[in-house]
């Protein structure tokens, strides 16, 4: 389902609106945590207040655990998330400048805005200084560029560099965070000389720690991707559908739907390779090669309840395989062209229609007449004129571009 904007659930034009809403929330949380006070932030370096470390570390491990759990549940597509590439030199230089500014001004960019909003004069100065910095950076960008973009390491991950799995890293990070909380609390107590009564009256942090450690353990024990999803179709249901031939649609019906042209309720999907598709395909068909079938671009096509999707290939083998895979994924309106293109040509053009009964009845005569008509229709090339607009879904792909901004 997620991420919502790149998947097209939310219009990218609403980006700024959501940025505004999230910004409001973020600012209010920072203010709640007391980050508008430069004393609190500087406390990190002097040892009397570690709340900055605790808040950011908690945010990081909570987000991490949630992301991994949601991705396991299939609520977020992990592969679509944007990962900031690592530029070695700009990371080091930026880190040094940021740290110096932090210890000197007592703010980081986000908290300086919060401080400025509630009217702190030092925060206002910090805020304007930041703008001067942005201006200078923009002005002299050309001379900085080689450093700024130098030594691009790409999208590297800490767990890859350490040679451990993502889940192990997540679990270790949770443990490290919890231990860091305990140690920093102790350092705070020693520096501030907290009286024993205050120390003992602190609320217990057992529950939140327990939840985090439990989630970490769960992620370790579960496979990285679930084998089954709850929305998938049971093997026995699929088997009985195939055994009862419910998954077939016959050549006559497809011929009829092509001849109907405009009133298309059937979307023909060619699962053969692109070369065969280029050479020949049925009118109005779209090409989704079998090995590409799970690409998320096609989801909106298969999920469209207004039309039946008919899969076809040369024979019915590949189409049936595609059908099985899609049916397992939980799509319902799926059919296979019985016998594939070979049988289609056979029925419409080659075989003479011979009714099974000796005395053809009304239905047989209709079938015979329909096939003659269809044959004429296709051989004279009428099929081309009629297909004006088979319902073609519009797919939006949001390409994510490398940002030139960032940092906290």
């Amino acid at each position: 389902m997620g991420p919502l904007i790149p998947q097209g659930f939310i219009n990218p034009d609403l980006n700024l609106f959501f940025a505004f809403v999230i910004g409001l929330g973020f600012g209010s949380v920072l203010e709640q945590a007391g980050f508008s006070s430069s004393r609190k932030l500087a406390g990190l370096f002097y040892g009397y207040d570690f709340i900055v470390l605790r808040v950011f570390f908690t945010a990081a491990i909570t987000a991490m655990t949630g992301l991994l759990l949601f991705s396991y549940l299939g609520w977020i597509d992990y592969s679509m998330l944007y990962v900031n590439p690592t530029y070695f030199w700009s990371a080091i230089v930026g880190g040094v400048i940021m740290g110096l500014g932090f210890i000197m001004g007592g703010f980081c960019p986000g908290t300086s805005v919060v401080g400025a909003v509630i009217g702190k004069i030092d925060a206002l100065f910090f805020f304007f200084g930041m703008f001067i910095g942005i201006f200078l950076f923009g002005h002299f960008y050309d001379s900085f560029e080689s450093i700024y973009l130098g030594h691009n390491l790409g999208n590297i991950f800490v767990f890859d560099s350490l040679g451990m799995s993502r889940e192990w890293f997540a679990f270790m990070l949770i443990l490290v965070a919890l231990i860091a909380f305990l140690i920093t609390q102790r350092i705070e107590d020693i520096v501030n000389d907290t009286p024993a009564t205050v120390r003992q009256s602190r609320p217990s942090h057992f529950f939140p720690s327990f939840i985090l450690i439990f989630s970490g353990l769960l992620l370790l024990l579960l496979p990285s991707q679930p084998r089954n999803s709850w929305y998938e179709t049971d093997a026995k249901t699929i088997l009985s559908e195939v055994a009862n031939k419910n998954h077939y649609t016959d050549a006559d019906e497809i011929a009829f739907s092509i001849m109907q042209g405009k009133n298309y309720t059937v979307l023909l999907v060619d699962v053969r390779d692109p070369e065969s598709f280029q050479r020949f395909t049925l009118p109005g068909a779209i090409n989704i090669p079998l090995n590409d079938i799970f690409d998320y671009n096609w989801e909106s096509i298969f999920d469209n309840h207004n039309q039946k999707v008919v899969l076809f290939s040369h024979s019915e083998t590949q189409a049936s395989e595609a059908w099985l895979l899609l049916r397992r994924k939980g799509y319902k309106e799926m059919k296979v062209l019985e016998g594939g293109l070979n049988n289609f040509m056979n029925t419409i053009f080659i075989e003479e229609f011979i009714p099974e009964r000796k005395r053809p009845d009304c239905i047989d005569m209709h079938t015979a007449r329909f096939r003659t008509e269809a044959k004429e229709y296709f051989t004279t090339g009428k099929a081309i004129k009629k297909i004006e607009s088979p319902q073609i879904p519009v797919i939006k792909i949001v390409e994510i571009e490398k940002p030139i901004s960032g940092g906290c």
Partner: protein, 202 residues
């Protein structure tokens, strides 16, 4: 005051995590039980090693190694009685996932499936793969073809024949197909690309 706030936060976090865990447990029990994921099933589909082509079958027959395999005839009993491969057992397709049939197949490493249609045999192999069977082979072509063109009268031109081949020159039937091909190529889904700039930081 601070205490109650803290308790509220605690309960909130606990409730949220509890709901997520409950959903996980629920999803686990509601979902069907496959032993392989759909992506692995797709790999299985793309794996060309699982096909027993006519040439392979002939070499198995000639070298008398066909007995090493468990041949499974997926057609119904009537068709099975009318004639089948030597040494084949009958498990009709609609009974494939019954516990008896699975017991019969379980533990056997070399299974070759064949059926009245190639597609049915292939689907059966995928369903078995979903049940955790590995290396289930599928005989290419329909059984009637196998019987006539491989077992009775083998032609070397049929060595790599399988159903998934074009039997006709299709454009012959559709008069203006070159234009057609172009048109349908244009009717691929319209893809609108939007560029989005992500900026991060706190």
């Amino acid at each position: 005051m601070k205490d109650t706030q803290y308790k509220l936060l605690n309960t909130g976090a606990f409730l949220f995590a509890g709901i997520v865990f409950l959903v996980m447990i629920f999803q686990y029990f509601v979902g069907p039980k496959y032993k392989v994921s759909s992506a692995e099933m797709l790999e299985q589909v793309e794996n060309q090693q699982r096909w027993v082509m006519p040439a392979d079958l002939l070499s198995l027959v000639e070298s008398n190694r066909l007995q090493d395999y468990l041949l499974v005839d997926l057609r119904n009993e009537e068709e099975y009685n009318r004639g089948t491969m030597p040494g084949a057992v009958n498990i009709s397709f609609d009974k494939l996932l019954d516990s008896e049939s699975l017991k019969q197949l379980r533990g056997r490493k070399d299974i070759i499936l064949f059926s009245g249609t190639e597609s049915q045999a292939s689907l059966a192999s995928l369903l078995l793969a979903g049940k955790g069977f590995k290396n289930v082979l599928v005989m290419a072509n329909d059984f009637s073809f196998i019987k006539e063109s491989v077992l009775e009268k083998y032609k070397s031109s049929n060595a790599f024949t399988h159903s998934e081949k074009a039997q006709y020159d299709y454009p012959r039937f559709f008069k203006t197909s070159p234009i057609e091909a172009k048109q349908s190529n244009a009717s691929k889904p319209k893809i609108i690309e939007t560029k989005m700039i992500v900026s991060g930081g706190c």
